[in-house]
């Protein structure tokens, strides 16, 4: 090295190095942001994929079956020689089990939410809530076992002519299963009610019961409704309990004592069999799956709308 570097030249090269480092750093930042965006956008891709696959596979089915027969027919026998493709029996099965589940879950979930948010001392609530969470974490297959081999024999002692597979037992157990969910969403809504409203009510001499029903409930009404609606959506989509305990025979009836198949139970039944990919019977599970998605999507969007409303008030 013959030429001396002056201090200012040293500073220049130092700055150059910093600039180079910054370029690398900025490029890395942009790359990372791009990757993270793709990961987030993946959620949209999954939704699109669900709809696309159901339409794509269901299209084969609807080339052979008219939409009118599909939606209004009362016989569902796609796997038989003399095939009928009316999905009403699957719908009645789904509706009956979901209604029973709702009748169990709505009042219980509501009472639990009121109790935990308004009545229970914080310490008691802290002990009880994890139990509800554990209950919510039990796999549905275990609930199915419970419905078939515990609840049904129990019910048969009360209702002697109850079938071994029946919608009543399946509906009741689904109801118990979604209680923790309904309770936790309702409780969230009640907790979001500002303390000042309660304090105002108590200052007027109201009891906890009066405060809960006349102040907290009206203020959190849309949130509680959201819990109910989202609960129904869960009941409609529940699969294993009905597949195990309600039997898998499509049955056009509203009598909960009888066995019947729901949309979900039918999908399980076909998937367990060995029908070739591409046959109408096989493609029919995508068609009924499409109906299931539409129903649950309706309830989910409704529920999310209601939920947003209670969040925006305060």
């Amino acid at each position: 090295m013959t030429s001396e570097t002056t201090p200012s030249q040293q500073g220049e090269s130092y700055l150059d190095r910093i600039r180079a480092m910054r370029r690398v750093r900025n490029a890395r930042e942009r790359l990372v942001e791009g990757i993270l965006f793709l990961a987030a956008f993946f959620a949209v891709a999954v939704t699109v994929a669900i709809v696309a696959i159901l339409l794509y596979e269901g299209a084969v089915f609807f080339r052979h079956v008219s939409l009118v027969e599909f939606l209004t027919g009362t016989q569902w026998t796609p796997l038989f020689e003399n095939a009928h493709y009316g999905m009403l029996p699957l719908l009645t099965g789904t509706v009956v089990t979901s209604v029973i589940a709702f009748v169990v879950a709505a009042p219980l979930g509501f009472l639990i939410a009121v109790f935990l948010s308004e009545f229970a001392p914080p310490r008691v609530a802290q002990v009880l809530k994890p139990f509800l969470e554990l209950l919510a974490g039990i796999p549905t297959i275990v609930y199915g076992y419970f419905a078939l081999l515990f609840v049904t024999p129990l019910l048969q002692k009360i209702i002697p002519d109850l079938a071994g597979f029946n919608m009543l037992s399946a509906g009741l157990v689904i109801g118990l299963m979604i209680v923790p969910y309904v309770a936790s969403v309702s409780e969230d809504a009640m907790r979001a009610v500002p303390m000042a409203l309660r304090e105002g009510s108590y200052a007027m001499g109201a009891t906890r019961f009066q405060t809960a029903l006349r102040v907290v409930l009206p203020a959190s009404f849309s949130g509680v409704m959201a819990a109910f609606v989202l609960g129904i959506s869960r009941a409609v989509g529940e699969t294993m309990v009905v597949a195990i305990a309600a039997g898998q025979q499509p049955n056009f009836t509203f009598d909960p004592r009888e066995p019947a198949a729901t949309i979900t139970a039918y999908i399980v039944q076909v998937a367990m069999g060995d029908l070739p990919h591409g046959s109408i019977g096989y493609q029919s599970i995508f068609a009924v799956g499409l109906v299931l998605v539409v129903i649950t999507l309706f309830f989910n969007l409704l529920g999310q709308m209601l939920r947003k409303r209670f969040r925006e008030v305060y």
Partner: protein, 307 residues
Amino acid sequence: MVKTDLSRLRAVIAKNRRWDLIFGGIGLLATMLGVVVLTVLFVDLVIDGWSRLRPDFFLNFPSRHPERAGILSAWVGSALVMLVTALTAVPLGVAAAVYLEEYAPKHWITELIEVNVSNLAAVPSIIYGLLALGLFVYLLGLGHSILTAGLTLALLILPIIIVATREALRAIPVSIREAAYALGATRWQVVSNHLIPYASGGIYTGVIIGMARAVGETAPIITIGALTFIAFLPPAPFTGDPPAGPFDWLFSPFTVLPIQMFNWLSRPQAAFHVNAAATGIVIIVATLVMNGIAIWLRARVRRNLKW
């Protein structure tokens, strides 16, 4: 005059107090019902299945003879599927959550992603099965394999991990971010050196809850056509003849615990129902332990975090 008013007032107060007590009692009963159901369910399973919970139950393959049947292929299958699920869902879910919480500008694309995440959380699990059947099994040709099942469950628990990670990130005060930015840190440096480590407790909680959900999930796995009678294990890397490649097990047929339980439960013989109950105990203990750890971890994180 004053006296009668006072007694009427007392009566009203007494009535209101009574209602308060009655309603509190009903609420307590309703809540205890949850505890009772959990207990009855567990006790019922234990009574039915305890006799089969011997070491050979875990070491035997399924069999036509109920007393010789075991869950070896099922629990190995469950473990491998969980591995695939965790390796896919955790990085993807955490990345998506970081983007939505720390990067996303407020515009319609972000809004669209938000709506989709909350909606995916509510899509029935069997629909994920149909998606996987059409996409993974037939379009991509992955077959009825461990890989397909793992990816399917990963999609299913993705929203759980995203929501938990976002909540954990949101709980970190803005001042932490401001301090790091003030020192010249870039966004990714703030995220990777500060936010993710501080949020790790919450992220672990979400991951464990998601995995507990995946362990017991049955419907989507049935839909992708998992076989119920599997009397062999997936090939271990570099074993067998010709030797299996390091990833051959990914494409192996498999069964998982809930499918095995469903299979035994669907049979008419009561002896198989005992096996189903024993499998149920294994599943329920696994999920209760995982959920218990998650609840404990969350409580600890909340207690220790004092910003």
